[in-house]
Symmetry: C2
Amino acid sequence: MQANKLRLLHESLRRYLRRDARAHLLKLVEKTRDEELAAAMSSMVVEEQLSIFSCLTTYARQAHVITLMAEPFGQIILSPLTPTDAARILREMAPDDMADILADLSTDHAAAILGSLEESEEVEDLMRYADDTAGGIMIPEYLALQSDDTVENAQERLREAGDVEMVYYVYVVNTHGHLVGVLSLRKLVTALPGTRVSEVMSTDVISVTPETDQEEVASLVARYSFLSIPVVDDSNKLLGLVTVDDVIDVLRDEATEDILKMAGAGEDLTDTHGVRGNVQIRFPWLLASSIGGLLGAGVMSLFAETIQTHEALAFFLPVILGMSGNVGTQSATIIVRALAVGRISLVGGNWSIIRREVLVGLIMGTLYGILVGLVAWAVAGSPYYGLTVGLAFVAGMIIASGVGASLPIVLSRIGFDPAVATGPLVTTAVDILGIAAYFGIAAGLLRAFGL
Amino acid sequence: MQANKLRLLHESLRRYLRRDARAHLLKLVEKTRDEELAAAMSSMVVEEQLSIFSCLTTYARQAHVITLMAEPFGQIILSPLTPTDAARILREMAPDDMADILADLSTDHAAAILGSLEESEEVEDLMRYADDTAGGIMIPEYLALQSDDTVENAQERLREAGDVEMVYYVYVVNTHGHLVGVLSLRKLVTALPGTRVSEVMSTDVISVTPETDQEEVASLVARYSFLSIPVVDDSNKLLGLVTVDDVIDVLRDEATEDILKMAGAGEDLTDTHGVRGNVQIRFPWLLASSIGGLLGAGVMSLFAETIQTHEALAFFLPVILGMSGNVGTQSATIIVRALAVGRISLVGGNWSIIRREVLVGLIMGTLYGILVGLVAWAVAGSPYYGLTVGLAFVAGMIIASGVGASLPIVLSRIGFDPAVATGPLVTTAVDILGIAAYFGIAAGLLRAFGL
């Protein structure tokens, strides 16, 4: 239902753009929610995005749509504006979003804009933290209660703060600003008026520091089903909070990052948007693959004589390497994902996992080895060929599943992200080892059989 | 910090288990949060999980830990229990979790347990919905306000309901139980006591039906930064709500599913836990790959003569197929993910994306074609070999990026999940086409050069 609605919106927007029907466009944009507009705009080209954006008539809507769009949309919109005009839009954003977008602008332009913003100090503080840390995604906390407040006072303060978005827990600090407790809004509403905040709050608060990696923040929020998590400095002073909606964005981005990384295709869909970025990001991983491939060619050349005599052997090389590569990638994918969601821990024995994968490789290798071996027998007209190809197949699959399972674990143990280019690295390693095993076994066996 | 804490917990639990130090284990479990316990248990074997679970001394904690663990943990725990004992634990769960676990038990056992539960009707209703729909993850709504209630009344009702978890919005229904509005808890708290609920509520409510796919539910909650979304039937009657913490689980599971599917390794890490499940799930995708590979062998056999005369050609086949496979997988991965997060829409021209990928393939093919071509020249001692290998390389990379980019789009257009086995399908298609292109070009060129 919603998907259809979105498709309809997308089509209408495009039709009006094509026809240059500005009046219709203005009317449609007027009555559409910002979130839907941004969703429809995401899959358009920049020119279309700009035309639609220009139909937004208030700074608040402009600001909201910018925060909903992926980078570098904010940069594209704000770069050509004067500092005063840019500040008019930015003023409508939450401080963390402001900081993110300012960090993407040129230093001079950002400084000039900051000059015209009231919250400049707060935003500058936030800009100090890296994008992918708790500090980079937190909003500054402005509504912390004092532990000796009464519930009545607390409710009054809440009322004064007005309808601020995104507050579900209220954090409690002592007179030094140190975090001492947390209270759900619901508990605050249902507590008896006379009680003190310290009596109803929970003191067992899980917090992070501004430097905590956003992935860890997200996994804590997910594990405890939190709606927000407080950010404190080393002395436990409350600095801000990360809300669950930002955590959802982090989880999506991290999943995208893992998926792209595994294929050696960068970390971010934006980077692969143009042809140039695409080539730059994917080139290096293919370099590893090409060097590996040439090494494989070198290995093959050692068996030139065998290939010349038994050219049918070469026919079955692609199927062995292709399937070994697939099995290795399957193993690696399972391990990478299990590590990412905590279903495998690096504590203690990982041997059992590698053993399991190798066993799977052995079984698959045997099943498919028989199939491919029979075909080889039929094609080459000799059972020896069949046996050779079949055995090489088993070896290839065992090697592949072993390499596929161990590589992510090894990468992870030596401090690398196990997802990094698992795909190209595994298939390349499998290619070299597979070629050596195949022709090694073939040359040995055929000689033994006197062929 | 948290990661270290978890590692420490994991190590301590294992040490006590090894030493059979039950008293220590009881003490440690007693003082550890359920979420941390479940996180540490996730990466353990079933026997260890059961020993730790047996240290949980209350039904409430047992119920909580079961809901935190991945399937089939609940089934393992509850299957051997009598219906009465099982009901004691289940009673402590939210109805949606109850329904999920009962659905995994044998029909007789589930019916017997339902007999001893008070909420059996509610749970049976929930069990009707598929696991991966809004109905399968919703909790029944029990706190809907009437639109003509006063804010005072509403607050009173909230207080009476006690400290129920996971309510951040209150939904408003008319006298027929039809959904007419939504109100944030915060707005309810800060509204003046005399006002009517209908005056402060928002009437623009986005809802889903019980049949809505959980992936669409998650993407709506993510898009609008909701904390919960209401589930209504066809007549707009409010049935329940899906909360953001369940949405986070859905997003994680869907990312896992996409990642595993792309490699042809199933949909769920649990399925790949044992050797047997692993083989069963991965076998069919490899079958496609093996048939493709044998077709490739067939294609190669057409060029048997060329290979016999120019055996060095075979040396470069693995590097061409390997790199083409990698480029194709990169293209496919980028497209699959862009489709999943809505950065590409299937509306209108997808030709520009395919064109971009093919252009990337052309550039990569040219760059690496020169490199590999030069090596081939050096190895085979003839510039013609270099030219042949280089040109075949360009062809292979163009084919690979074209296939990699179009396959997910085509799958998606004909109604399949674009992630399904993209990896094996792309590499297999690339293998067959790559072999044909390589030897086709080689045979033609070498003949033309009179070699």
